[in-house]
């Protein structure tokens, strides 16, 4: 379940779980987000992939109150992934992270006095899930407060546990349906002491999604993409 790659296109962000990197992949000319997604689906189906349902990844932002003035507010992100429906992940950007069960959301409501939910900043990616041989491909539309911001593509090579071993293999696969513009190795591994040769886990995937969503938040709204 490791070694996923997420890619957000449109300008796109690619999330390679556990690899995440940003690369500029231009949208097909004159096509909207939905049309580009349809093009990708068609390419995948031509390859021989089989649709296996839908997926959702979302991220909510909480401001930590009670900080001493002058210090930047710490942001807590709570993320959910339909791949692990019974858990949720809470993390500070670049900081510690916690894997908890579904009741953590209720706990956050109870902690309203310490953490305030920034409702307008919820980012989510929704779309279809494809299976091709041992690969799992998720193509979703990234939306922030119901405006489409881009496309995320996640590619996972299930049998392999160590990202460094299969990076070239995954690059070849992505080239077959995404074309020549492929993201670089995600930075999440550069920070680890052993680098690429340590088994990846789902925290790495979610870290990549978080980076992606942060980039989306900083981006301007694309003209003509509000739904």
């Amino acid at each position: 379940m490791l070694n996923n790659i997420l890619m957000l296109l449109t300008v796109i962000l690619c999330v390679l779980s556990p690899l995440l990197s940003v690369c500029q992949v231009p949208l097909a000319e004159g096509k909207s987000v939905q049309q580009t997604i349809d093009i990708l689906h068609k390419k995948l189906e031509q390859l021989g992939a089989v649709k296996q349902g839908n997926f959702t990844v979302d991220c909510e932002t909480y401001h930590a109150t009670g900080n001493a003035s002058g210090q930047p507010t710490k942001l807590l992100y709570v993320m959910h992934n339909s791949e692990t429906p019974l858990s949720c992940l809470a993390l500070f950007e670049g900081g510690p992270c916690l894997t908890a069960d579904g009741n953590f959301d209720v706990l956050m409501i109870k902690l309203k006095s310490h953490f305030q939910n920034a409702k307008g900043h919820k980012v989510e990616s929704r779309g279809s899930r494809y299976r091709y041989c041992d690969f799992l491909i998720k193509v979703g539309a990234v939306t922030m407060s119901s405006s489409a911001r881009g496309i995320s593509v996640e590619v996972e090579y299930c049998p392999c546990v160590v990202p460094g071993d299969c990076w070239n293999l995954m690059k070849e696969f992505m080239q077959s349906f995404l074309g020549p513009s492929i993201p670089e190795l995600p930075s999440v591994f550069a920070t680890k002491p052993e680098g690429l040769y340590v088994p990846a886990d789902c925290v790495d995937t979610m870290t990549q999604y978080l980076e992606l969503f942060s980039k989306v938040r900083k981006q301007q709204v694309l003209p003509g993409t509000t739904r």
Binding site: M1, L2, G48, Y132, C133, D134, F135, Y157, C158, P159, C160, V161, V162, D165, C166, N168, L169, E172, F173, S176, P199
Partner: protein
């Protein structure tokens, strides 16, 4: 009556076919028509009796006519009967050696379409004869090349030679343990654990780096069966024992399992099974770079979504399954 005669003649012909003509068909059909003639003359006798005396002027005249007619009819019956007897001697006996013996009598069942027992029986016998013949041919061809992996000598020569003990099949478990641990020490990135869950047969759990786990079922020092699964897959079943039956969830490791089975059949040396195990482990170790090596033939990593899973038995080069020819 003629309808009945026709049906019985059809049946008789079928029986004749089955019973491998020791029967004179010509005489047979003549005999059947003789039966028909006999029956009609007998009917005439009874008809004339039923009709009684015809109307004539005098009583004597009537009686005379009646008696003459009656005698004529009886004589024709006699003639026909003699004819039939003559023909029946010509018909001959059905051949004794008909292949189905009593089951051939099943052909007399008139309802062919509802219970086609006889025709099915014939087909079954023909099929089994053909099977026996082909099996004989196959065994003579296969015996030309010895496929025995063990040094067990069996056969007709056992009487002349002194009884050869199947030495390599009965090895002390300690020896097997020693051989396996020596091989395990040979390769630093491969760890071998030995279990004996069922009796004296060893079951090895080979972990290759962080790539795969293999379960190898042995019979003394011969490799019997192998199953390959991913590094993150569970090797134990629910009751805590080694799961030696379920296939991997990933297609790539299912393919590697097939290749490993081919390998264990390929490496054969009946007198030196420890060399065989060492060769097999060397071959298996080449999978440490399963996901990193491109195919030697086409240069690509993926073919139909699979990495190069075949390892050549001599050179240990990586090929896709479809590229190896």
């Amino acid at each position: 009556m003629t309808v009945f005669m026709r049906r019985s003649s059809q049946r008789a012909e079928k029986m004749a076919d089955a019973m491998n003509v020791g029967v004179n068909l010509e005489a047979f059909s003549q005999a059947i028509s003789a039966i028909q003639a006999l029956r009609s003359s007998v009917t005439r006798v009874f008809d004339s009796l039923k009709d009684g005396m015809k109307n004539k002027e005098t009583l004597e005249g009537r009686e005379k006519v009646f008696i003459t007619e009656f005698q004529d009819n009886l004589q024709s019956v006699n003639r026909d009967l003699n004819e039939l007897e003559r023909l029946s001697t010509l018909v001959g006996r059905p051949s004794e050696s008909h292949p189905l013996h009593n089951s051939g009598l099943l052909s007399l069942d008139p309802v062919q379409d509802k219970t086609p027992l006889y025709s099915q029986l014939l087909q079954a016998y023909k099929w089994s004869n053909k099977l026996q013949y082909h099996a004989g041919l196959a065994s003579s061809l296969l015996n030309q090349q010895s496929l025995k992996r063990s040094a067990n000598q069996m056969g007709a020569s056992a009487k002349r030679r002194p009884k050869v003990q199947p030495s390599t099949l009965v090895l002390p478990p300690q020896y097997v343990d020693d051989v396996i641990s020596r091989i395990g020490r040979m390769f630093p990135d491969m760890s071998i654990e030995l279990f004996r869950p069922n009796g004296t047969s060893a079951v090895l759990l080979v972990t290759l780096g962080k790539v795969l786990k293999t379960i190898v079922v042995m019979r003394s020092l011969f490799i019997d069966r192998t199953i390959v699964r991913g590094f993150n897959e569970n090797v134990y079943s629910e009751d805590g024992k080694l799961d030696i039956w379920s296939k991997s969830n990933y297609q790539v490791f299912q393919k590697v399992t097939d290749h490993a089975t081919t390998a264990l059949l390929h490496y054969q040396l009946p007198q030196m099974p420890d060399v065989v195990v060492r060769s097999f482990m060397t071959w298996l170790r080449s999978y440490i770079k399963l996901f990193q090596t491109p195919c030697q033939r086409c240069g690509k990593f993926l073919q139909e979504g699979l990495p190069p899973t075949w390892r050549d038995f001599r050179t240990l080069e990586a090929f896709h399954d479809t590229c190896r020819q």
